[in-house]
């Protein structure tokens, strides 16, 4: 534990890989870049797991926050500075494990999946950059550090989505992802500025201490200062939450996530399912003490945003036909779960169940969602299409993928004894205690989730007659299958980890017992969803179309993603570009530049006028001369008198 060097290796190895592959990869290391990246990720993952074991074993009674390493990066004033450091606390340690582990799986998987790509080394260097940034993000000790790495993960996501840069749709998607999250980050930045101004610090520990302690002058100030009837603290937290919502694709800032599926599928698994998109949840969890102690209003906003997103995305997921998009909406929906779990959480002990459950779900979700994406990747790799209609009957030709995908589907649907069951159960329990409406909505979402996941499952692997080996491609290399199997093991078993022992909002472990009676309802709901999906999609039939026509309005709206994209497009194209942009450009060229040119032409006109006096004719000059002399004479006479 006293080996910061060892710890620092976790993020530094990917950074080093990025630099080496970024500079030399293309020319010299093209063939072995994948091996280099995967090896360094493997070492990182091993150190992370070792760290986690040491950390949680060291003091089972109370998990403290430890700053393993710290340096002042950019001082602003005496008390405000950006520090870079390495924070160890339950959630950061957990995230270290998740990020390095999933990243390692994706690195390994990509060896096969991305084989033969032109920019193989570039791909791996970007992956390493992303992993480095994400690791830096989770171990942040300073709210500005988190912002910096936040931006870095954003840009690595941008680079990876735009990896197939010759495809216009990929370019558009990468732009969209970056700009939408940047917009959210604007909120984050202003939120940071507000919080730092109120607490006179950027350091997480001090910030949380100053804004939660009763009678702290900073807290008093932050609550009493208000703007438009909302206190500065609430403004700060809400704006920070906007940043989190943008990154975590919460409604209505979610529009970039489905499009982000233009990136290579392993990237979607890593960034847009398991790690980066949960950064928003992580951020709220990081600031959770302030939310819960000083600003429950903001937490309520978190809750409603989460539950809305969960339901909203689940409905859309039912209608999408691109398998990656279905998974993207399902990610959004699951992150909604995590968000509202934080929202319904209380503080400390049993009432802090929501917090624990949220982190638990984050953990388990990382496994089964990464698995789903990688499985989908295997399918796409074989079929060369993302569309459901091109698939079907793959259970024989892709046995490993079939089984692992099924496990993941069961896990996400929350069926015992798979991982999702436990985490979702805890969330629902927490919701039941806090807010019945939220509980109801969450339950509905759970049912829909089960339905659309099994819609996917049956459409891909059943539906048509099972055919064996009629495809030219095999199921994929061994390096692609191993991660699937490992993740499937994770998706099946991680639920049994007693999370309450490790991750709680005040560091004190508690034992959460599973409420079996309460679990029956949700499982039944999920089973109903699965049954409906089976009825509709196990064999090809016309039931789905009938239902779709019966619900035509809703169906079309959901299929069109409730027109959110169109609204955004309207705003950006018409208001931002046409009204603001064009008028600014016009104003500059016409008014401001025109004024300058106008001044110039007035001067030119004057000079022309004066120039014309010099006609070059002696008689004109003589006239001026005489007039001048006459005038001077008159003046002299006048002056003399």
């Amino acid at each position: 534990m006293n080996l910061p060097f060892n710890l620092l290796l976790i993020p530094l190895l990917p950074l080093l890989t990025f630099v080496v592959l970024g500079i030399f990869g293309r020319k010299y290391l093209s063939s072995i870049s994948g091996i280099i990246g995967t090896t360094s990720m493997f070492i990182s993952a091993v150190i992370s797991i070792q760290t986690a074991i040491q950390y949680f074993a060291s003091s089972p009674e109370m998990h403290l926050q430890q700053i393993a390493w710290k340096m002042v990066w950019l001082p602003f004033s005496e008390d405000i500075s950006i520090d870079i450091g390495f924070l160890l606390d339950p959630i950061s340690v957990m995230m270290l494990v998740v990020v390095t582990l999933i990243s390692f799986m994706v690195h390994l998987y990509s060896l096969g999946y991305m084989k033969g790509e032109n920019r193989f080394a570039t791909y791996y260097s970007f992956l390493s950059l992303f992993t480095f940034s994400m690791l830096g993000l989770v171990v942040s000790i300073n709210i500005f550090q988190i912002y910096m790495f936040w931006e870095l993960v954003g840009v690595s996501s941008f680079l990876l989505i735009g990896y197939y840069f010759e495809k216009p749709s990929a370019v558009a998607a990468s732009k969209k992802a970056f700009i939408v999250t940047r917009f959210a980050d604007l909120g984050f930045l202003i939120g940071i500025l507000i919080l730092s101004f109120q607490a006179h610090t950027l350091d997480f520990q001090t910030l949380i201490q100053r804004l939660t302690q009763n009678g702290s002058p900073f807290l008093h100030d932050a609550i009493t200062t208000s703007f438009m009837g909302v206190s500065a603290l609430t403004w700060g937290l809400l704006l920070v939450f906007i940043g989190g919502a943008g990154k975590s694709a919460m409604f209505p800032l979610h529009i970039w996530l489905p499009d982000a599926m233009e990136g290579p599928t392993p990237v979607s698994a890593l960034i847009h399912a398991a790690t980066m998109v949960v950064a928003g949840v992580y951020l709220v969890a990081r600031l959770f003490p302030i939310f819960i102690m000083s600003c429950p209003v903001a937490l309520e906003v978190v809750m409603w945003t989460g539950v809305t997103s969960a339901l909203f995305a689940a409905v859309i997921a039912c209608t999408q036909t691109d398998i990656k998009r279905v998974l993207a909406y399902s990610t959004m929906s699951q992150i909604g779960y995590m968000m509202f779990a934080l929202g319904v959480s209380g503080s400390g002990g049993e009432s802090g169940l929501g917090y624990t459950a949220s982190m638990f779900h984050l953990f388990t979700h990382a496994f089964f969602k990464a698995l789903l994406f990688l499985g989908a990747g295997a399918v796409i790799h074989m079929i060369h299409s993302n569309e459901i209609k091109d698939m079907g009957g793959l259970r024989k030709s892709m046995p490993v993928t079939h089984i692992t995908f099924l496990i993941a589907c069961l896990a996400i649907a929350g069926i015992f004894p798979f991982a999702g069951f436990f985490s979702k159960e805890e969330i629902l329990t927490a919701a039941l205690h806090a807010n019945k409406v939220v509980y109801g909505l969450a339950l509905v979402t759970a049912g829909i989730t089960a339905f659309y996941m099994f819609r996917l499952y049956f459409s891909i692997f059943w539906s048509k007659e099972a055919s064996q080996g009629d495809h030219h491609h095999s199921e994929g290399t061994l390096t692609m299958k191993i991660p699937l199997i490992l993740l499937a093991i994770g998706a099946a078993t991680t639920g049994f980890i007693p999370f309450g022992e490790y991750v709680t909002n005040n560091g004190k472990p508690f034992h959460s017992s599973l409420d079996l009676a309460g679990a029956i309802g949700p499982v039944l709901v999920a089973l109903t969803g699965i049954a409906i999906a089976m009825l509709f999609y196990k064999k090809q039939n016309d039931r789905p179309e009938k239902v779709a026509t019966a619900l035509s309005g809703l169906y079309v709206a959901a299929y069109r993603k409730f027109y959110i994209d169109e609204i955004y497009l309207f705003i950006t194209r018409n208001i931002i570009f046409n009204i603001l942009g064009k008028s600014a450009a016009w104003f500059d060229r016409t008014i401001i530049d025109g004024t300058m040119n106008g001044i110039a032409s007035v001067i030119a006109w004057n000079s022309n006028f004066i120039k014309n006096i010099q006609s070059g004719k002696i008689q004109d000059y003589a006239l001026y001369f005489f007039v001048g002399v006459f005038g001077l004479t008159l003046l002299a006479i006048y002056l003399v008198n």
Binding site: R26, V72, W73, L74, P75, F76, S77, I80, I82, F144, Y147, M148, F149, E151, L152, V155, F158, G162, F165, E166, P168, V171, A172, S174, K175, F178, I179, R182, F183, D185, L186, L189, I190, L193, S196, F197, F227, I576, F577, L580, G581, K582, A584, A585, F587, D588, I592, D593, T595, M596, A600
Partner: protein, 501 residues
């Protein structure tokens, strides 16, 4: 080290150039000359840090003063603090890079490099001067070459642009001169004589009514150089018509002369007036930031995009100065250095693309990432720096400015800060649009398949500027340590004067 070496070396280089005719020799000499400049600045930096580390806390190091016109109180006074040395370093980087990208300047090459060297001599002289007259002298030296560089080697409507730029900058100089004369006539040194010596003027605070009259002259005058809204219109035309190296010098050096002058002359010598006019400065710079960003969004020519974004970015410099606090001013200086390096690199890359494709219209390009990966990568990196990505200098500078400006609790300041923050989104939009159109997507023009990637000199130039950007981005504490004594000193003077009245 004698500071005058910094002026001497480029001047000598310039005159040696006149004896040669072939491009190969000329560019070699220019390159060696600028390399010596860079070396000198590094030696200076090390000596400077050595002195500071050994506990020398005097405001200006390497101070020296020679009487020039003693009767008028004009002296050739030089000296540097952390702020000036940072600026000098930036200039040295840009000059060397500028020479390297002009490797194939066939047309009148001797004259071209001569003017470049002359310009850099003016810039160095400006940053080391502690005497207002000397400062003005070097400011003027730096203006004339720009006119010729654009007028002779430019592209597009170069005559118009050259004329516009020269006239507007001359107008700025006239304002500056009025301000300086005003300061001079109300100054007195130890013997009760009028003086142009900045330290003496700062020491004997300028009377309030004089400050109120002459601050606007000095600030607007330097502001024209630094793209102060609404006197920024020379920026887009001038930059886009100029040849690559001249654009780099313009954006990297000339615009910084303005920012530095606003800080060192206007604000430092007339702090009460700066305080009094701060709301106006902040308003104008916030407008410049946001409005410049929106105007950039509609541009199609890459050079125009960068030129307009310079307007937006230079707004941060003036915003930081207008905030009149330690963090804000540090941020302003950081932004000057960051923007100098970044824009120079951006123009260099655009120049490389233009040289190969003969177009700068983003939509006519496309897919360049595939045919020239190095140049495109640098373009993307510069773009990312421009939109304030952590790890590059732009982020450091902008965040410092934001932090500084947020320290004012009045809603007016808050509003200006939020508006400026909003520019980071708009910046992202136009940078990504340009990148997406020019570099990504399929290759639209068949001829582009034959294009070659960067040559060694271009790679060297890009690497040079990029190293500066990345070092600041990764280790901003180095820059901050260098700047903070200087800024502290400025702030004490500003604070002392504010208390005095």
């Amino acid at each position: 080290m004698n500071l005058s070496l910094l002026v001497l070396v480029p001047t000598l280089t310039a005159f040696i150039l006149l004896f040669f005719k072939e491009l190969k020799k000329i560019r070699m000499i220019a390159c060696i000359g600028s390399a010596i400049q860079l070396l000198l600045t590094f030696i200076l930096l090390f000596q400077f840090s050595g002195l500071r580390a050994s506990g020398d806390t005097s405001a200006m190091l390497f101070y020296s003063s020679y009487a020039w016109f003693p009767e008028l109180g004009i002296a050739y006074t030089t000296g540097i603090d952390g702020i000036s040395i940072a600026m000098i370093l930036m200039v040295a980087f840009v000059v060397l890079a500028g020479v390297l990208v002009s490797w194939k300047m066939e047309k009148l090459s001797r004259e071209f490099f001569f003017l470049l060297m002359l310009l850099s001599a003016g810039a160095y002289g400006f940053f080391i001067s502690l005497d207002l007259f000397t400062l003005f002298f070097f400011l003027e030296i730096a203006v004339i070459p720009k006119f010729l560089l654009i007028g002779i080697w430019g592209s597009g409507k170069k005559e118009y642009s050259a004329m516009k730029l020269a006239l507007m900058l001359m107008g700025g100089s006239a304002f500056v001169f009025l301000g300086l004369i005003g300061l001079y006539l109300n100054s007195s040194d130890a013997n009760g004589m009028h003086t142009f010596d900045m330290m003496a003027i700062a020491h004997h605070a300028v009377p309030l009514n004089i400050q109120f009259i002459f601050f606007p002259f000095a600030f607007i005058g330097f502001g024209i150089f630094g793209a102060l809204f609404p006197f920024h219109t020379w920026v887009p035309d001038g930059h886009s018509s100029a040849p690559t190296a001249a654009s780099m010098f313009l954006a990297g050096i000339s615009m910084k002369l303005g920012g530095y002058g606003c800080l060192r002359v206007a604000t430092y010598l007339m702090p009460e007036a700066a305080h009094h006019y701060a709301p106006i400065i902040i308003l104008l710079s916030a407008i410049a930031i946001l409005y410049g960003a929106f105007a950039t969004m509609m541009q199609t020519d890459l050079k125009y995009i960068n030129a307009y974004s310079s307007v937006s970015h230079c707004g941060f410099v003036l915003l930081g100065i207008g905030m009149l606090n330690q963090t804000g001013i540090t941020g302003a200086v950081m932004q000057m250095i960051s923007h100098g390096l970044m824009t120079a690199l951006f123009f260099a890359v655009i120049g490389m693309i233009y040289e190969r494709t003969h177009t700068r219209i983003a939509s006519q390009l496309g897919g360049l990432l595939k045919v020239m990966p190095f140049i495109s990568t640098i373009f993307v990196i510069t773009g990312l720096c421009s939109l304030g990505l952590p790890g590059f200098s732009g982020f450091v500078a902008e965040m410092t400015v934001f932090m500084g400006s947020w320290q004012h609790a009045e809603s007016y300041y808050r509003l200006a800060t939020i508006a400026s923050c909003a520019s980071i989104v708009v910046t992202a939009v136009y940078i990504l649009n340009a990148t997406g159109k020019a570099l990504m997507g399929p290759i639209t023009n068949e001829n582009y398949h034959q294009l070659s990637d960067a040559t060694w000199n271009e790679k060297l130039a890009a690497g040079l500027l990029l190293s500066g950007i990345v070092v600041i981005g990764f280790a901003p504490f180095l820059l901050n340590d260098l700047l903070s004594p200087g800024v502290n000193n400025l702030m004490t003077n500003i604070g002392r004067n504010l208390l005095l009245h």
